[in-house]
Symmetry: C2
Subunit: 456 residues, 2 copies
Amino acid sequence: MTFHAGWLRRCLVSATLVVAVAAPAFAQTAPDGAKVADFSLANGMEVVVIPDHRAPIVTHMVWYKAGSADEPPGKSGIAHFFEHLMFKATTNHPAGEFDRAVAAIGGNDNAFTSYDYTAFHETVAPQALEEMMGFEADRMRNLVLTDETVATERDVIMEERRARIDNEPDALLDEAVDATLWLNQPYRIPVIGWMQEIEKLNRADARAFYDRYYAPNNAVLVVAGDVAPDAVKAMAERTYGLIPRGQDLPPRVRPVEPEQHTRRTVTLADDRVGVPSFSTRWVVPSYRTARPGEAEALDLLAEILGGGIRSRLYQELVVHKGIASSAGAVFRGRTLDDTSFAVYAAPLGKAGLADVEAAVDTEVARIGRDGVTDAELQAAKDRFVRSMIFARDRQESMANIYGSTLATGGTVRDVQEWPDRIRKVTAGEIKAAAARYLVQASSVTGYLLPQQQTEN
Amino acid sequence: MTFHAGWLRRCLVSATLVVAVAAPAFAQTAPDGAKVADFSLANGMEVVVIPDHRAPIVTHMVWYKAGSADEPPGKSGIAHFFEHLMFKATTNHPAGEFDRAVAAIGGNDNAFTSYDYTAFHETVAPQALEEMMGFEADRMRNLVLTDETVATERDVIMEERRARIDNEPDALLDEAVDATLWLNQPYRIPVIGWMQEIEKLNRADARAFYDRYYAPNNAVLVVAGDVAPDAVKAMAERTYGLIPRGQDLPPRVRPVEPEQHTRRTVTLADDRVGVPSFSTRWVVPSYRTARPGEAEALDLLAEILGGGIRSRLYQELVVHKGIASSAGAVFRGRTLDDTSFAVYAAPLGKAGLADVEAAVDTEVARIGRDGVTDAELQAAKDRFVRSMIFARDRQESMANIYGSTLATGGTVRDVQEWPDRIRKVTAGEIKAAAARYLVQASSVTGYLLPQQQTEN
């Protein structure tokens, strides 16, 4: 069953997510040199094909430009809820038939919801691609939404929230830190939704969300793998192409942040916490909202400051001082609106959280004051290039990069020009980004503490 | 000119506001014993008449059930903006004519906007009441909204925001504390609006707000003074009664708070700050959302803990210890949704902010642990009764109490039964309210610091 894994939890200490988010990796051409194709169907559905003929496998993804930040006030969680409902019966297929069809041919499928998009994907043999398109096109418009289906799935989601958030102190803290960091932007609301709002979501809410956002002209189809663009186009026209264009949606203009003037802290003490930890976050521009070059500088800043074991934070706190078990930095650049930049660490041995936080603050202040060296910058760019090679090697990574970029206001060209734009970033631009944005007076720090240590 | 004084700034250290908010005072009958009349016009406009024949004066107020918490996402400030626009030209009167008519007869007028309502009022001789009703009924539907009027007033409001918020560190902090305290409820957004949203408000936004909310069936008329209910009814029918009923609005159901699990701090350091200060706030139920008796207990809790010079905080910190120049508590009970309870203090002489905060925390913990004495409770109830007598003595206070109650989901009966409900509160209920709500692990503390003192 795949619908449990739906929502992307923002977990700063997850190394997997850090790599995936902090080092978006791109390629101008597909892995075997074939050109990426980009075209639209007559009904407005955008299609991106990334040929990759090394293995007889294809990744098929549909990205809807609708995420939790697009939800109406008081209806938090409906985007993620709807992702679940997409696995229910349609007028043509009973619930579970799509999943079983994927499993029967040895494929896998899943879906996820984030602030800015909801995506559904299957990885199968190329022969099954058109069948996948048929299933996916079917559920784009033909879901059967009954009160009973909605009520049953609502219970599943409430249990998911209890298990993944309400019973996890780090997740509860994360949620409160986001609600504190964002004074006005809807990223302040958790993707899974607030419990008191989830429990009131109903069929009318689901229907309204479906009818507004699930339409070919609000979706991007990404196909990566052992396929030819012309063949994909023909298949897409025979499946998605039959769906009528939906309503024209207004531009995705959401409430934005006011200027921030305060330093904030958020503390959660819980007896289930063994080792304390902290993270400090700032509001920074995303690739979509930044001035030219600024988001690229923030990406490299995160890489140099805390992007891995070669980073300053890791080297200083974990390797040299030996006071931290983990330390790093994260920049989430691919969002529609302004995004967050975070640093984090957890103490090791006899070191206290205050020692570790002071050491992180020192590194943050130093990089804004003194900047980075040319050698550091070159090494960070090289690491990005290497991560690109890894990404090229994974169909799903490439599909994710194109899909998330296109679903957050970017273009295929943005993806393709990204390596050049990274190469052009100067040490001065990185220093300027750190000095401008990583300012303590407008930061938010979250503290996760054992119950006995309520004072920090 | 009166339209500058529009919005109610939430200033915890304003003694005036503390008294007005913390001690709502009510009377079963009007000051001279005449009964309060409550009826509706055929178009749905509710009318409350509070006869008071001691002086030839009448207070005329119209309360619209629309405040900043009713604004659409991204349109913060439109409620207050609209209050300003109500002083512009109508199809029957040029801009300024209403104000001049009030001034010409020696009256005064004003307006204010809060989270839950917008109110307009005039105090004049009884002979002028029907003229006031005529003017007020006229602008309820006949405003002339031009692009030019809207643009000019937008500049006025942006300047108001700069002067009253952006140039005032305490106001900026207050705004950030509210945006931190409320994780989900719209009280998190300032009444005056965020600057980046105010500057985009336009005629279409104003028109939409006007057409939705400014209608007789969404308004409450309160008339207090030297008038007879029958005469008021006849005048109201000849003026407001001619306005057609507006659309039926849905119930005022807004996003509500999730459970809070974290302790948060908000710090603003500014070189314009001379003496540091702090306030700690909690989310608590309001008269509308509380279980029976709980809001009354919170009112008395605020009174005993910090309602004036007889309160525990004042006596302990200012009088006995001599470490604080001010100390108190505020409960804002008359809101449509959950509200806030606050304690605050500022150090005196050589005392540090940390000393003062610790002393406040001690008193808060003590009242939750040990409760209040019967003598304290009786004295607090007596002070409330005395504040009632003061309120009866002021027409405007009575009009405000009825208006704010009716505009936040209460009834005339709620106002009239309030003294009895206060008298029934037990010491145990006050202790329970303190223990349940004034919990450090779910509090938000704001620190206002001089620039050099960035560490607290």
